[in-house]
Symmetry: C2
Amino acid sequence: MDDRLQAVDAYIESHLPGWMEELTRLCAVPSVSARHEGIPECAALCAELIGRRGFDVRVHQTGGHPVVLGHAPGRSERTMLLYNHYDVQPPEPLELWESPPFEAQIRDGAIYARGSKDDKGELVARLAALDALRTVDDGYPCGLTWLVEGEEEVSSVHLPDFVERHRDQLRVQGAIWEEGGVDADGAFSLALGVRGLLYIELHVEASARDGHSGMANLIPNAAWRLVWALSTLKGPDERIRIPGFYDGVTGPTPRQRELIGGQDTSEDEEALRRAFGLTRLLGGRTGAEAVGGAAFDPTCNIAGIGSGYQGEGSKTVIPARASAKLDFRLVPGQDPRDITQKLRAHLDAEGFEDVRIEVLGGERAGVVDPDDPLVAATLETSKEVYGKTPRTSPLIGGTTPIFLFTEEGVPVVSPGVGYGGNQAHSPNEHMRLEDFRRAARHIARVLLRFGEL
Amino acid sequence: MDDRLQAVDAYIESHLPGWMEELTRLCAVPSVSARHEGIPECAALCAELIGRRGFDVRVHQTGGHPVVLGHAPGRSERTMLLYNHYDVQPPEPLELWESPPFEAQIRDGAIYARGSKDDKGELVARLAALDALRTVDDGYPCGLTWLVEGEEEVSSVHLPDFVERHRDQLRVQGAIWEEGGVDADGAFSLALGVRGLLYIELHVEASARDGHSGMANLIPNAAWRLVWALSTLKGPDERIRIPGFYDGVTGPTPRQRELIGGQDTSEDEEALRRAFGLTRLLGGRTGAEAVGGAAFDPTCNIAGIGSGYQGEGSKTVIPARASAKLDFRLVPGQDPRDITQKLRAHLDAEGFEDVRIEVLGGERAGVVDPDDPLVAATLETSKEVYGKTPRTSPLIGGTTPIFLFTEEGVPVVSPGVGYGGNQAHSPNEHMRLEDFRRAARHIARVLLRFGEL
């Protein structure tokens, strides 16, 4: 290891409390995008933290939640995009949190709060890497463009339009995306693709008002209508029944299949089963298939459903209204607009013209060339930090709008602070401090190598 | 009309404000049985109001909500049971109320509040009849036993046991039940039977905690499990698919069919459609079939369903838990315990062993002999009060535990304050003041005739 890297690592090792203070401030802003809470405050705080690192930074209005965009020069002509988001998932169910979700608490070597990992922890790990590089190396090794949006958790509704309108400020040669981290063995794991997403809400209004259930065979019931409509979308075999849904779905390429097959995934599968208290994964998936292969199958998930009386005890009512939130994770070859049209046609054909579709967000899948030099640099430098052979996943289950850059030929990588037990999107979300230190060291190395490519 | 009746009517006409004050006090106690709110307070208030009418009254503990039981002597040896309940349905959805649900408000000739009709308004109409009889006639025409329970809206869980344990205090020759009233034409309408009820909650716990929906094809989803289980119970054809569910269901007897057929129900059907904003009733039911005949078909109603994220916007989560409240309205020949067993067997056979059944209440149906003298007296006296030919329904859609007395051979009738637009169980529940006056006059007449039978 050269002296410069030793100095970077030493700097990161000795300055942790300052970054945890910044992360605590960030997590204290309850920037729940689904509810439009704390949004301008959190954008302003991000701009402040980034501006303090020598970025020329501006908060842009988008029609939705603002985007923070900053630029900093570096020694190389090449520019790296840093993408993060300052919004978080709702904290519910609150009763399952061991400490208040918006008051970060450090315990047992980890920091707990909504956003402590996803994605405020990731953002602060980059601040740490940049602080170390600036101090040790007297500047940045490459140009940097930092984009922080506030709608990632609600499908990045306004981001595509923002990116199109600011392409001139977003000409980059590589990108470090939202999140990354280690697998159950502690080896760095790199995602080379993410799924797309179609998020909708189905609404039924079966009558003008709730009725007494003594009339249940006279007055239509919105909950029944919704249950029947939903049951036509997918059955216990998990096969999605919307005609044409799988059109264009080709499964992994031979190169992607090679990457799936090369992974040792038995521990991931076991960790997953343990975390969710399961004796088997859905469809009996095991090993590589479970962890890597599953992402190549698109999904239809009920994220929420509600109708009628949900309080304590009994109420004999015919609900007039019912709704369900559904997310479809899409794979390369699927387009959210096309799927929406097919869903509408399917519901109509099945006699559910009364079920209204509200589209809450749509993004396409995105994939990265496994043989890009930035990918190679990211994997190589990870060995030094994590001391293990890294893994790559050709496609992961989640969604984040890398398609906005991968479709322009920009390679996207993701050194980061995560591990399988983070509980992102769940109660007791946390980031392990050791993951933070290693992610900062890794990010610094990736930027140094990128500047030299 | 004899002088006595004229004096009763005049008394009722001139004392309305006092009873509305008593009703306002009753409605101010938010005695929502599903939430165990305001229960002892409401029982005590009922005992106070009844005691003030010369009843020897006691509040009995039951293991659930207390029962108020009072006795008053009369000129005849015969004793009439008055049955009411002091509990009410939850007021939700609150935002649809035009005035606060527990602050009674008189406007446009009606009194609005949760319970203003069901069942506190009914109870106060009896107070009015008794006040008039006591004053005009210097006492009651028959013995009176008044039973007011606090769990009617949650399936009268403890009432059967209470009644069995107090049979010696409940030897009566007739009963005036919970509620009654007029049809869309303003003619008195008498129910000669009520359906039974099985109220259950289905619970699914599919994994130990909510997951990120990127793993939706790895982690089981409780909402999907519940939707699939529900969809096996009933389809859009409204036929209930639980094997053996219809065993013992015989439909109306010839005498009951005669009563259904003799009714002019075109206006009821239209009123129902208008109230619920429907172009047609479920299954295209029309006329007599809709209003009278539908009750002979048992139902399976989703009263509530909930799982996952139901807030604003989107959250990408795999719900670990889901639950649904269902009520089955049962007809003569069905028993709630038997139906519960058949439901369990059905869910198991369909692969839903993971769906847990929680029983929240069960009651059998109850029917009255259409040719009983008390029935005849009730119908005859209604003509004088309402000026129209009354109607009878052999079986109505709702449930109330008359089976506890009809199975002992006691005839049950129900003069009362209702009309089709009361919005009982819904926002803006109300009682029209004219319905109150007429019900009080009718009840007084029924008691006078009963004393002479």
